[in-house]
């Protein structure tokens, strides 16, 4: 029995060494370990072996069987590995630096800046409203305490329409409608906190610094005890978010009929930090947004009692902000529809990576 087994083993070894692909091994398995294979027939021969030798003979056959199984398994691992190496070696070496021609869409820069500012205000509890571009004299002027003969109403500033309406000259034209819309909220002790971005129109000659069509964003907050101190807080906080650094602001008196007191808000120059440079005309300050406490007549026009409620309003030049943000020197870019300029505004995000908290 031992001789037979050893012969079988030798025969197998020779064949297994000659295997080159996993399929050969499968054939060997069937050939040696299959029902009609030599191991089976050796097992059959056990019947003719005396009982006292049976155990030993069985052991011998099992050893051979186990040997064959292991050898096949090992050889298979070896062959698979070889095959994988072959695939790797024959694989194409991709050029990761190869230019891929990707077409990308783009947003208008105003949309990007607007979304950014809207997010900041939404985070501070402000709702976002949208308003008409074609409005009437009442909403654009009358309701904003701008008297009949105010120069702002002159033809040279305002586009008047054949429908006895006009193209809104400032986002403040929405104030009356929005204050009215939120009156119920206010009466339910919920403050009015709204921003309303929009497109405005002024009858101006166009050049690199002037456009007749531009974007502003206006914000109002009205409640029972809104003060100038609150106004300064919101302006400072909002602008620090917009410019992503701590901003120093200062207020100067500024005259706008719909606020009292009215302010011009300056921020310390972002380029020189207040020392004076060409950007801030050596003053250290940049005039950024007009703001003020909503004029009692404006509150009254919206049906709110100025003895009970106070509030602040501010305007932000979105077009100007976009120019600052992206370093756009010529305002005409915005309405140019020129894709060589505008296609550069892919969905950019400006958020600084958050610093790890230790």
């Amino acid at each position: 029995m031992l001789e037979k087994a050893q012969a079988l083993k030798a025969q197998f070894e020779e064949k297994v060494n000659g295997a080159t692909v996993p399929a050969d091994l499968e054939q060997l398995r069937i050939e040696f370990l299959g029902k009609k294979g030599p191991i089976s027939s050796l097992m059959g021969e056990l019947r003719n072996i005396p009982n006292e030798q049976k155990k030993e003979a069985g052991q011998i056959i099992n050893d051979v069987k186990q040997f064959i199984e292991e050898a096949i398994a090992n050889k298979r691992t070896e062959l698979v590995k070889l095959e994988e190496e072959r695939l790797i070696n024959s694989a194409e070496d991709y050029d990761v630096t190869f230019p891929i021609d990707e077409v990308k869409g783009s947003y208008h820069p105003i949309t990007l800046v607007q979304r950014e500012v809207e997010d900041i205000f939404a985070g501070m509890g402000f709702s976002i409203e949208d308003y008409d571009e074609i409005v009437d004299d009442y909403h654009c002027f009358e309701a904003l305490n701008i008297p009949k003969h105010h120069p702002a109403r002159d033809m040279q500033d305002t586009y008047y329409l054949s429908t006895n309406q006009l193209l809104k000259t400032h986002t403040s034209a929405a104030q009356n409608a929005i204050l009215k819309k939120y009156t119920k909220e206010l009466e339910a002790d919920r403050p009015i906190r709204v921003i309303f971005p929009g497109r405005c129109f002024r009858n101006e000659k166009i050049d690199a610094c002037h456009e007749n069509t531009f974007f502003q964003m206006e914000g109002v907050m009205v409640d029972k005890d809104i003060s100038i101190s609150n106004l300064i807080y919101f302006m400072k906080t909002m602008l620090s978010e917009v410019f992503q650094r701590d901003i120093t602001v200062r207020l100067r008196p500024g005259f706008f009929p719909f606020v009292e007191p009215g302010f011009e808000l300056d921020i310390q120059c972002l380029i020189c930090g207040g020392d004076g440079c060409p950007s801030c005309k050596d003053s250290g300050w940049l005039e950024l947004c007009p703001c003020g406490m909503i004029h009692p007549n404006v509150l009254t026009a919206a049906g709110l009692d100025p003895e009970k409620y106070t509030g602040f309003a501010f305007g932000l030049g979105l077009t100007r902000l976009a120019m600052m943000r992206y370093g756009i020197k010529d305002i005409r870019v915005f309405n140019s529809c020129n894709l060589k300029s505008l296609s550069q505004f892919e969905n950019a995000t400006f958020v600084e990576p958050e610093k790890e908290v230790k």
Binding site: I134, D154, Y160, L161, S162, L167, I228, F255, C337
Partner: protein, 787 residues
């Protein structure tokens, strides 16, 4: 406006204060200072000199050789000025001294040494007068430093005029001095005035024909005037503040305007008998003192001598009654005209003057008499012989109401959010000229006349007065105590944003902004007629006078201008149009999405289907609904007569999709094709969205069945769909077109119908039965299986 610190110092003691800091606090409390100019720095060692002798220069006709007494010794000077004479006192710079043009050195001029320079006022930077040497007009020993006798050292600051728009009181130095007094807690000195003492009974008759355009008209006559030039110190001051010395009387009126903000006008008294302030009965011509003929309309207020116009009220005097060098008697007008009327006349005439700019701001009528008294005081100070030659005429036609405002400390606290002490409030308001009385908890405040013409009327105005002097830098920065509430973005905003995201991110389109009006010139290039719509009445170019009624033409213009950007691109805009007018006559403003796809690499048909997929995607992403497209006849001439379809959802028409009419398509591009989508965003927002209804996926095997059909002209896919949709089969999961082709003019397409049931594996017989029904339906509309 230029402000001289020397001038301010006449009314407020600023000694010991840092002037530049003070000017900065003026910016923060009152009005923006745009520039600070230090005067006199560029002048050194300029002294009073006396010309002792004059000899002609042997080598030059123009030059003279002078001996000049410079106080310490006699200097040899070569001088080219035409007005030299012996014993003339002049400004002399010794070699080593300095004038604005540079340092003066010893020099040889045409062979003779010059040890210094005699200067004109221009050379000293004190005037633009280059005509000759500046003659010293005060008594001072030779060698006296010029800066000791004239106000040459000064700090001038320029205030942004726009920031003074609402402060009529700040258009003169005295008003600005009041601000400095309040800012520094120092006293404001009164203006020295004449009492206009006069013994006779002569009085100039003044008739005001248009009391609606006049608040007050005061005038007085002065005669026996012998001087005709103003003192150099006054001329320097005027020059520093941006004016030019002309003659004594004209300089005085300018001086008073810069000092008090009150424009005055000096008429030659010989030309004035009685004054009529009125508008002319009919249009006429009038020559103003700048020697220009002006067209005067019947709503322009004039000052007339009887019936002869002598000035345009508040704007400019006439040439005929102008003060000239030898005028020895004047009628001084100190008036207050209606600001709106002056502004309108001034813009109608295209003539804006220092006077009209001030009247526009609504000046205080109380100033007129004070100005007359101040004029008389200054004139008599300069020309001792000048006399008041009439009683003061004072027609006070209209008065502004007196304003009193009551408020309490709690109001101030609420408005400011901080605690400003009562004493501070009283002190500030008093310094600014307000009358303040405390009545229990209340402050009763009387607004001074110079703030009561339009500026300060209500409590909130008082808050501004208190807070600006208190200083906004001294405020706390505190958040509100208001309760929190959920923040909601309006659906139109959020859905507009979603649309933009889909178009940019899924379809790589570019967002643009175009103008709301039609540009006729650009429309023409594309063969597009501007359709009648709401008009802009006053636009610089009449080409742009119509508001757009569709987004597409302006976007087509943009496409046309971007053809060299890429062979294949798409643009979009969410903007406003006026879709005609509403029943109430107002513009029917709509928010619209416009999309234009342009391509030189694909067929119009492929691009059209891409556009359809965009529309479908927008609806499916935002509404979870499919839009219904159906062919319509075009609403605009530029739309293709056949390939224009409406986009509807839930039975509401929301927009259109179209290719271009061949006429416009050819003009846009010979090789490229364009497809347009327009959707009314306002209507889109009103379409309710479907919720996502989740279904467990079937675990049963699905079966598909392909049908290759021969299409017939005029039959749409919607009609095909009806052939299987009418079975209402829950087991029919989807139908997809998997192939289309064209052969010998016959269109074929293959659809794959996918069947599955939730509860069982479908039997072939079952499916075949449905297919048979579908085929029968198809046959009814003339569609057969392909052989």
């Amino acid at each position: 406006m230029f402000v001289s610190i020397n001038w301010i110092k006449e009314y407020v003691d600023l000694s010991g204060l840092d002037i530049k800091k003070l000017i900065n606090s003026f910016t923060l409390a009152t009005a923006e200072v745009e520039d600070i100019i230090v005067k006199g720095d560029d002048l050194r060692d300029v002294v009073v000199g006396e010309i002792l002798s004059i000899e002609n220069h042997p080598n030059s006709k123009k030059l003279h050789l002078l001996k000049v007494d410079g106080g310490d010794r006699i200097y040899d000077v070569v001088c080219g000025a035409p007005n030299v004479r012996e014993n003339m006192k002049i400004a002399f710079v010794k070699a080593g001294g300095r004038v604005p043009a540079g340092e003066i050195t010893k020099a040889t001029v045409a062979g003779y040494e010059s040890e210094g320079m005699c200067c004109s006022a221009f050379e000293l930077g004190l005037s633009d007068d280059k005509a000759g040497l500046m003659e010293i007009d005060v008594d001072a020993p030779n060698g006296t430093n010029l800066k000791d006798i004239y106000p040459i050292d000064d700090i001038i600051f320029e205030v942004d005029n726009k920031s003074l728009t609402n402060r009529p009181d700040l258009w003169g130095h005295y008003g600005i001095a009041r601000e400095f007094a309040a800012l520094t807690d120092r006293e404001l000195k009164p203006l020295p005035l004449s009492d206009l003492a006069y013994d006779g009974d002569n009085k100039i008759k003044v008739t005001v024909g248009r009391p609606d355009l006049v608040y007050r008209y005061s005038c007085v006559k002065m005669d026996n005037i012998s001087k005709n030039t103003s003192p150099l110190s006054m001329q320097i001051r005027l020059y520093y503040c941006g004016m030019r010395g002309i003659n004594l009387l004209a300089d005085l009126t300018n001086y008073i305007m810069l000092e008090m903000g009150q424009p005055t006008h000096a008429f030659d008294a010989n030309k004035i008998d009685e004054i009529v302030v009125d508008t002319p009965k009919e249009d006429c011509k009038f020559i103003t003192l700048d020697n220009t003929e002006r067209d005067i309309t019947t709503d322009t207020l004039l000052i007339q001598n009887g019936s002869t116009p002598v000035a345009i009220a508040g704007i400019m005097g006439g040439l005929d009654s102008e003060i000239v060098g030898d005028t020895n008697a004047v009628v001084l007008e100190c008036a207050n005209f209606d600001g709106v009327s002056v502004r309108k006349s001034s813009s109608r005439l295209g003539l804006r003057t220092d006077a009209s700019a001030r009247y526009e701001k609504m000046l205080d009528p109380e100033m007129t008499v004070t100005a007359a008294k101040r004029f008389a005081y200054l004139l008599q100070d300069i020309d001792k012989g000048a006399r008041v030659a009439s009683l003061l005429t004072d027609e006070y036609v209209r008065k502004y109401p007196e304003i009193e405002i009551t408020f309490d400390k709690a109001y101030v606290d609420k408005y400011t959010g901080i605690d400003i002490f009562e004493e501070r409030i009283v002190k500030t308001l008093t310094a600014l000229g307000f009358g303040v009385a405390k009545d229990g908890e209340s402050f009763n405040v009387k607004v001074p006349s110079f703030r009561a013409t339009k500026d300060v009327t209500i409590k909130a105005d008082i808050i501004e007065e208190i807070t600006r002097i208190y200083g906004y830098d001294n405020f706390s920065i505190i958040t509100t105590k208001s309760p929190l509430k959920p923040v909601k973005s309006s659906p139109v905003r959020s859905q507009s944003n979603e649309i933009k995201d889909i178009l940019v991110k899924h379809y790589n389109l570019h967002e643009v902004h175009s103008y709301i009006w039609c540009d006729v010139r650009k429309y023409k290039k594309l063969g597009i007629e501007v359709e009648d719509n709401v008009k802009v009445l006053n636009i610089e170019s009449s080409d742009n006078g119509t508001i757009r009624n569709s987004m597409i033409p302006t976007l087509l213009n943009a496409v046309s201008e971007n053809k060299d950007y890429s062979e294949s691109f798409g643009i979009f805009e969410i903007g406003r149009v006026a879709d005609g007018v509403k029943d109430d006559g107002t513009a029917n403003e709509r928010r619209r999405l416009g999309v234009v796809l342009f391509d030189k690499t694909v067929s119009e048909k492929d691009l059209f289907y891409k556009a359809v997929s965009i529309v479908n995607e927008v609806f499916s992403q935002i509404k979870h609904k499919a839009p219904v497209l159906s062919k319509v006849s075009p609403a605009h001439a530029w739309q293709h007569p056949k390939n224009t379809a409406s986009i509807a959802c839930d039975g509401v028409t929301l927009g259109s999709i179209n290719t271009l009419h061949p006429a416009n398509a050819q003009k846009l591009d010979k090789n490229g094709v364009a497809v347009c989508i327009e959707i009314d965003v306002d209507n889109f927002v009103t379409v309710s969205g479907n919720n996502i209804s989740f279904e467990e996926p079937s675990s049963q095997q699905s079966t598909y069945y392909d049908l290759s059909l021969v299409m017939k002209n005029g039959v749409t896919f919607a009609q095909l769909s009806e052939c299987w949709n009418s079975l209402n089969l829950a087991e029919l999961n989807s139908v997809k077109v998997i192939d289309t082709y064209q052969k010998d003019g016959v269109n074929s397409l293959t659809v794959r119908l996918l069947f599955s049931a939730k509860d069982r594996t479908l039997e072939m017989d079952e499916v075949q039965a449905w297919i048979d029904t579908i085929l029968a339906n198809l046959k009814n509309i003339g569609i057969e299986l392909r052989a």
